[in-house]
């Protein structure tokens, strides 16, 4: 079971925060996996595969997020999503 659960705490680092283009990349990546993905900010947890739910978080630069994945590919998806955020979604 251990491999079916993964979690990471991280900080939004790109200047403009989780805007729509960034979220679209995030959702596309998350949706490649069958596991459940949730993103939590200030105690509010939302579906990590929903564009509107993630945009509703309004995560600016410096926001602290917790990403949790449960199910097949949990470790991989969390690794990929962490990389997207750490790489600032390819922004300068």
């Amino acid at each position: 079971m251990r491999n079916n659960l993964a979690e990471v705490l991280l900080e939004v680092r790109n200047k403009t925060g989780l805007h729509m283009r960034a979220i679209t990349l995030f959702v596309k990546q998350a949706s490649r996996f069958s596991c459940k993905v949730t993103v939590e900010k200030n105690g509010e947890a939302v579906d990590g595969k929903s564009i509107t739910s993630l945009m509703a978080l309004g995560a600016e630069k410096g926001s602290k997020l917790r990403i949790v994945a449960v199910g097949d590919g949990a470790q991989q998806v969390v690794g990929k999503l962490k990389k997207l955020i750490d790489d600032k979604f390819g922004e300068k």
Binding site: G17, M20, T24, I51, S53, A56, G58
Partner: protein, 155 residues
């Protein structure tokens, strides 16, 4: 931030006439020109088209939020419109034609307010009942009052 802070009743059109993506964006932007919110239409138009080139701002369930940053506005401002027939807005998550549009423009240095406005819009639009009642509105005053009411109900 509330939706009524950046969307005024005068910038709503419940029967958009354009039949394609480009025309819809122009029609929505014209509402902001008429209300005096946008001084330089072509500047904003270009910024929005450039943004759409990166990827469609259609977010599924018949909704699109075309947006851009431009110094042709002094504060975050939005227009809203409904297309009765719906238009193809480029690839979306569900490939449904888009019927409900929110066009959002923010000054270049207003990343924070821009994100907050998008967040507020998304939070309300996540509610399917709200989306459906907006799409059924037949007058701009009606659409605006549905938005004001939802704004009051939800934190």
């Amino acid at each position: 931030m509330k939706m009524v802070d950046f969307l005024k009743a005068e910038a709503i059109k419940v029967s958009l006439e354009a039949k394609n993506k480009k025309g819809i964006i122009e029609e929505l932007l014209e509402l902001l020109v008429q209300t005096g919110k946008v001084k330089d239409k072509s500047n904003v138009l270009n910024a929005i088209f450039e943004r759409e080139k990166i990827g469609s701002t259609a977010i599924g369930k018949g909704v699109a939020i075309p947006h851009a940053k431009s110094n042709a506005v002094t504060e975050v401002t939005a227009a809203c419109g409904i297309s009765f027939e719906g238009v193809d807005f480029g690839h979306t998550v569900d490939d449904e034609p888009v019927r409900l549009f929110f066009l959002l423009v923010a000054p270049n240095d207003a990343a924070g307010p821009h994100l907050k406005a998008l967040a507020r819009l998304s939070r309300l639009l996540h509610n399917s009942g709200f989306r459906e009642s907006l799409m059924k509105a037949t007058a701009k005053e009606e659409l605006f009052s549905i938005i004001s009411e939802e704004d009051r109900k939800r934190q």
